[in-house]
Symmetry: C2
Amino acid sequence: MSATTDFEEAKDDFISQWGALGTSWGISRTMAQVHALLMISPDPLSTDQCMEELQISRGNAHTNLKELVGWGLIKIVVKKGERKEFFEAEKDVWKVFTIVLRERKRREIDPAVELLKGCVDRSKAVKTAEGKAFHEQMKELEEFAMFASKVGEKISHLKYGPAVKFADKFLGLLPKQKN
Amino acid sequence: MSATTDFEEAKDDFISQWGALGTSWGISRTMAQVHALLMISPDPLSTDQCMEELQISRGNAHTNLKELVGWGLIKIVVKKGERKEFFEAEKDVWKVFTIVLRERKRREIDPAVELLKGCVDRSKAVKTAEGKAFHEQMKELEEFAMFASKVGEKISHLKYGPAVKFADKFLGLLPKQKN
DNA sequence: CATTATTTTCAAAATATACTGAAAGTATCC
DNA sequence: GGATACTTTCAGTATATTTTGAAAATAATG
């Protein structure tokens, strides 16, 4: 069994399974696959190359490429003398992480904060025991969600080095680690 | 506009919107709604009460209640003299958070670590430039995913006080905060 | 400005996911 | 052990999401 075969297999595996994982990350399968493909491609790829590699339609490829551009996970590259657009992925793992973190905070946490604030507000004046309990519960949730939002915000703006140091110091992980 | 009306409105809002949010959390809408309902219910509720409140079928209520029990987010309560089961939610916000964190780590991070380990392995021996680049990329991803997994693990076993202190100290959040 | 290359859109089709309701399965009661 | 109360299962249905493919829009070329 040759190293090259293993390698080809690993590439295919990475693309297809990264796609499957995408689903549980709140990202569509194809979007994750396109991202995976570009992450391991030495050169920027065109829409047609993505279609070819992943066996997907033009519309699908197009939509997901543009969505990834919207997230900031890939960018458009124009090659001299070429008319079509090529796409290149951000490969720095920490950058990818912070981008995804920000997006998830925006979609998963911030709306919850809004909802909870409204609930806290509208239960301020209630006098019944049930009402007070509800108010308290909402307050605790809101406080926590707000806290999580701030933590997410801060972390997403940290550089990799400080972030690792930070986690390391407090959590006592990582035997040896570049800073 | 009475306080009671506001309160009723807030309750309904909380349940329905918490459900909608659930979707972006990788939890089904109904499961999140049932959880919301139980979180704000002063007393444990039966399957029939959940069906009634949320206007859902018995099968649906049953499945989601049992799923929530599986997660550890709610528990079964048996009332004296009553034959049916009642369900009661964990209301401590930090506990809810750690439960969800552990589950998401298990479903979102750990499988990625496995995948990446396999890819690192199968690209060890490749000699081409492309192969080496792939190997490096996989190694960086794997290292990061492993790191994230450990952080998740640690945090999920922290108590609320230490967790806040920790975040506060390093991130400089929270003007004043109970410990 | 006509031709060709490329991107964008979107209605219809395919697929994946969630829900219903009724029937089958268990446990409890008398 | 039969009747009753409750729980569980699951095939069929409904809903939501994703994908296709072809047509429309836009941009570049000569």
